[in-house]
Symmetry: C2
Subunit: 202 residues, 2 copies
DNA sequence: ATAGTTTGATTGATCGTTCAATCAGGGTTG
DNA sequence: CAACCCTGATTGAACGATCAATCAAACTAT
């Protein structure tokens, strides 16, 4: 047992226990004691690795954020730069990656969204995510649409993705991921093909 | 001070204080003591009118739900039955009514969404809202679209509304309500006018 | 006087944090 | 190789703070 790998292993183990606890009990009732019990360790160990509970929550959200970023990046790597629609689809599909669309992850996201309204550290992470999604979409749309339409398209598709996610978190029996993907892709396709939802007319 | 009018007045007063407390501190830190202090009354009074804290939260969410329903219903009352697009627009505009789009209300909604994942009473209220929005939209779309397209349209517009709402709650400086309304209306218009985001092609 | 309302101190429970103690392993020294 | 120390990991009990709920007493209006 080396010190460093052990440490990062414990961290990951505690983060996963945190996700499980949030899924089972909700963030409000995801107590240190419960998280530690789920991980099979003592409660004191958490402050040793994360400082305090807020540190653990921030690390957990950062973990989700990183997974989401990788899911998108990996899909885009396979798309040639000139294939605009391909990149847009990759962004959409990445956001509905299986790592993000299981019930535990979606519920955790919703809890973090709510918590970010009153915790600066979480808010910063959430803004990174929001801006990244918007910027990625906007950059693609801008290559085939005028700037104002590109902004509208990005706003629209980003909000649609978030809305579908939200409904996924709130639906106990889970949602049809394939249907979500299709709705988002078709919406993006409509923008790309020009017969967008009515050109801006102030 | 009459007994019955007094009672309902106190209830409303405490519900508004709850909304303020949720806005200022977040649901997790919206304690009984704080809510009572915001309302200028003693802490014990809450259990007298709402039983316990959960009862107060449920009443608060029900209050928001009712306001939203009225905002939509009132706008639809002015639209003739045959004006499909008018009804759809009324539903959208009602969901972006000023009673719902101030920062306090939007944040409260997000908190309630998160809480509803683990509190059956709140979950029931949230489902009522979700189904009502979807059913209203679907009923309109069905009059000009085949059933499967109507379902897609309703899902899409409902998710878009929720997503725009979500972003409104998470954006500290607030959002451009008019822009949200426009995006949602244009999206609905596209579905209604048939050049929908690609007819289902399964 | 009686029923409804309001207070605010008290209670009991819960939670996050702290910390002294223990443990395991690796490096150092003689 | 053996005795030693050192570092980081881990435990679990103890502490202090906080909060929701309770309730007896005070207040108000009819």
């Amino acid at each position: 047992m080396q010190p460093s790998p052990m440490a990062s292993g414990r961290r990951r183990q505690l983060i996963k226990a945190t996700l499980t606890a949030i899924h089972q009990y909700g963030m409000a009732d995801a107590t240190i004691a419960r998280i530690a019990r789920l991980a099979g360790v003592s409660s004191g160990i958490i402050s040793h690795y994360f400082g305090d509970k807020a540190g653990l929550m921030e690390a957990t959200m950062r973990y989700l954020l990183q997974q989401l970023g990788e899911a998108v990046a990996e899909r885009r790597r396979r798309i040639p730069p000139e294939d605009i629609a391909g990149h847009v689809d990759a962004i959409i599909d990445g956001n509905f990656d299986s790592s993000q669309t299981n019930v535990a992850a979606m519920r955790a996201w919703l809890e973090f969204w709510a918590a970010s309204m009153h915790q600066p550290a979480l808010r910063r992470l959430q803004r990174v995510n929001e801006r990244r999604l918007y910027a990625n979409l906007c950059h693609q749309f801008r290559q085939v649409l005028p700037a104002d339409q590109a902004r509208d398209a990005a706003q629209s598709v980003a909000a649609l993705i978030d809305g579908l996610w939200l409904r996924g978190a709130l639906t106990p029996e889970g949602i049809d991921i394939e249907a979500c993907r299709r709705l988002a892709r078709d919406n993006a396709r409509a923008w790309l093909e020009g017969h967008a939802p009515r050109t801006t007319e102030t």
